[in-house]
């Protein structure tokens, strides 16, 4: 058994889970929703083992380090954290249908990592040889994952709110009956960001602490740092929107989606399009 095989199994499981969620959404067959969730849990378990195994494999190769050192490993970890946060949400609130809007993110990550990225285990470059790597990457990605879940929920919110506005007569028949009420979606959106925001804050702080330790500057307006601050500003705006007149509801949902778009740019766009201190993520 190799980690590579397990990662392929994970990708396949997420694909099946996503398709099952789609069929569940269309057919409203309860058992399919549970099946989709069980497959997602299975995939999460396989991926957990795969990440642990890859960690061990790196030690067997004599270049031992946590599997968080390049783009492939971070995309895999991102996918893992998305399913993890979603699983926690499912355990607590049991709104199965959210899976149809969250699992695509996890699948997209795994499929891209497995098919499009260099999967080799590489030794750590000097810049990453620090314990801060683990704290910094884990907090950031858990935060990103919570934002991914919030984005999925916000999309559901906008679909549901849009349909309720245009034709409330039909609302009994369509797919939308499966959606939780918009009040619940709004609440879940807030709860996801409530998890993500402190984690992002911690991620930025651990990054600053590491930068100060390694380079002597806790903040140097490097594109990655700046984009993480942009993301932080957007979600800070989201949190204040909830107590500001005229910003509740749809606008807040849009802020959540824009926040996740900024998150993705901070994570991938900065490495692919801009140059800076985080170039090892290429």
């Amino acid at each position: 058994m190799t980690s590579s095989l397990l990662f392929n199994i994970t990708t396949f499981a997420y694909l099946i889970s996503m398709l099952a969620f789609f069929v569940f959404l269309a057919s409203r067959t309860k058992v399919l929703g549970s099946a989709a969730m069980i497959v997602a849990y299975g995939g999460l378990l396989a991926q957990t083992f795969a990440i642990a195994l890859r960690w061990k494999e790196s030690y067997d190769m004599g270049v031992g380090h946590a599997p968080l050192s390049n783009l492939y490993e971070s995309v895999v970890f991102f996918s893992w954290t998305i399913v993890l946060i979603y699983a926690l949400l499912d355990i607590k609130y049991k709104y199965r249908v959210i899976g149809a809007f969250v699992m695509p993110f996890a699948l997209l990550g795994m499929a891209w990592a497995q098919l499009g990225l260099n999967t080799g285990i590489e030794p750590l470059v000097p810049a990453l040889q620090s314990n801060w790597l683990l704290y910094h990457v884990v907090t950031c990605f858990l935060g990103y994952a919570a934002f991914a879940v919030a984005c999925g929920i916000s999309i559901m919110y906008l679909i549901k709110a849009g349909c309720e506005e245009s034709a409330d007569k039909q609302s009994d028949t369509g797919l939308l009956t499966m959606f939780p009420p918009i009040r619940v979606l709004d609440d879940l959106n807030y709860r996801s960001i409530m998890v993500g925001f402190p984690l992002l804050t911690l991620g930025i702080i651990t990054g600053a602490a590491w930068a100060n330790y390694a380079w002597g500057t806790y903040w140097s307006w490097d594109p990655k740092e700046t984009w993480s601050l942009i993301v932080w500003f957007v979600y800070a705006a989201f949190l204040h929107a909830r107590i500001t007149k005229g910003w509740v509801g749809k606008r807040a949902a849009w802020l959540s989606i824009i926040g996740f778009a900024a998150t993705i740019f901070c994570y991938l766009g900065v490495n692919l399009f801009l140059s800076g201190l985080h170039s090892y993520g290429k």
Partner: protein
């Protein structure tokens, strides 16, 4: 005359207290910050400047786009945000403070109607016994109650985590503390860099502002080394440094190791491994075919030198002894590459101990100058970032406050329970500052337990 002035002040104050201003500032900061991630900051490379043209360059310069995070308009936005959050806090704090320090301990009808969680339990226990029962119940199941008696009606009030209502202000305070830390750092600290050759010492560094700074002591680079993994990727950049005071090594700071992610700090100044380079020097002489007109040449490890005939020479590799590579030969040798003026280039080996081979090569390849190798020395230099920032501690304090504040703001809630005994019925009311759903469940379970508790004692 004073009234319109007051009105202006009043509306200015209201504007600064408004959450809409907060939204505007946060979103503006997010959008404006993008500029500096697209346009290179600091001193942009010539190649970049060539792509955007002189008109844009002067426009960007005028707008401060090349150092936008220190431009007046960006700093102004940060100041406005600070004023906004201070104003918001000042406006709302007294009310919150009152809730915390002067809790409403009596549930009147008006309060009862405003509560979403209210339950009534019928009970005909003796009032004195009931008082004891409820006090004991609240003490063990929730929090110690305050008991008030008004006109034959008994009121109980108990609360949990009232101070967590302050957490938002904690977060606001933490932002200001971080700003203060940054200010202290920029006023009393410095950032600079220094390059040191192997075996040499420095006592001055170059600041980012372009000025020189005297360290007050001397730093010597004993050795720089670089290790690579088997695939050629860098594994370690290492400088061995010695701190000297009055020419003598400081105990504990002799041969100190500095690698990436492990700096050296002495007297509040920290040295970080940042870059390195080759400062080796290799000596050559170029002569005519008959040995006349000798010219000395020095070639660096990463530079080239001009030959008398106009062609340029650079060094590919060198060895202090050629014997292992070319049996029968001995002594230093260098593999060089010559770029001729006609565009052609050639590579060959130049020897120190075998001038006849050097002459033979020149004869075989035209009339060009004869090159002789005189030997050389491999010298590395290290590039260190140098920093002193007395504000860092304040920044970390701010970060700590922020984490604590954000955590309590999201995950803790001020929960209040009121109980009223009146005419044989016990009315319970509850309120939470956050997470109403979870509080509702907790409230229902609490009331359920109180019911069984009272009934049990009844029998």
């Amino acid at each position: 005359m004073t009234t319109p002035k007051k009105d202006v002040l009043r509306s200015l104050w209201d504007a600064f207290c408004s959450l809409k201003l907060t939204m505007f500032l946060l979103i503006s900061l997010a959008v404006i910050s993008i500029i500096g991630t697209v346009i290179p900051q600091g001193t942009p490379a010539e190649e970049y400047l060539a792509t955007i043209g002189p008109a844009k360059i002067s426009l960007y310069k005028a707008l401060g786009f090349f150092d936008m995070y220190h431009s007046w308009w960006f700093i102004l936005l940060l100041y406005l945000l600070t004023v906004n959050l201070v104003a918001c806090s000042i406006k709302r704090l007294p009310h919150i403070w009152k809730i915390i320090t002067q809790p409403v301990t009596v549930m009147e009808d008006g309060l009862e109607r405003s509560l979403t969680n209210v339950a009534t339990i019928k009970n005909s226990n003796d009032p004195v016994q009931l008082k004891e029962q409820i006090t004991a119940f609240l003490e063990t199941e929730f929090a110690e109650p305050v008991v008030t008696e008004t006109g034959g009606t008994l009121h109980f009030f108990a609360q949990k985590n009232p101070w967590c209502r302050l957490s938002v202000y904690f977060v606001h305070l933490s932002v200001i503390v971080i700003f203060i830390g940054a200010l202290v750092g920029s006023l009393f600290g410095f950032k600079g860099y220094v390059n040191i050759l192997e075996g040499e010492s420095i006592s001055k560094i170059m600041l980012r502002s372009g000025k020189e700074l005297d360290l007050g002591y001397t730093l010597r680079l004993e050795q720089f080394s670089m290790a690579t993994y088997s695939n050629g990727a860098p594994k370690e950049f290492k400088s061995i440094l010695t701190v000297l005071e009055n020419g003598k090594p400081v105990p504990g700071y002799a041969n100190a190791r500095v690698i990436v992610n492990d700096p050296l700090t002495y007297k509040g100044i920290t040295f970080y491994q940042s870059s390195y380079g080759d400062a080796s020097e290799y000596l050559f002489t170029a002569t005519d075919l008959d040995g006349k007109n000798p010219v000395s040449l020095t070639v660096g490890g990463q530079s080239s030198a001009k030959l008398p005939d106009g062609s340029s020479m650079c060094l590919l590799e060198s060895t202090p002894d050629i014997a292992p590579y070319s049996p029968g030969l001995s002594g230093p040798a260098a593999n060089v590459e010559i770029h001729k003026t006609d565009g052609t280039s050639e590579r060959f080996v130049v020897y120190a101990n075998h001038p006849e081979l050097n002459i033979e090569h020149a004869k075989n390849h035209g009339k060009g100058p004869v090159l002789h190798y005189k030997g050389g020395e491999k010298h590395m230099y290290t590039g260190l970032q140098v920093a002193k920032d007395p504000g860092v501690g304040i920044v970390w304090l701010g970060c700590f406050l922020m984490v604590i504040g954000v955590y309590t703001a999201f995950f803790m809630s001020h929960r209040r329970i009121w109980v009223r005994i009146q005419n044989g019925s016990v009315t319970v009311g509850g309120n939470a500052s956050k997470n109403q759903g979870a509080f509702q469940l907790a409230f229902e379970s609490l009331v359920g337990r109180l019911k069984t508790d009272l009934n049990k004692e009844n029998k």
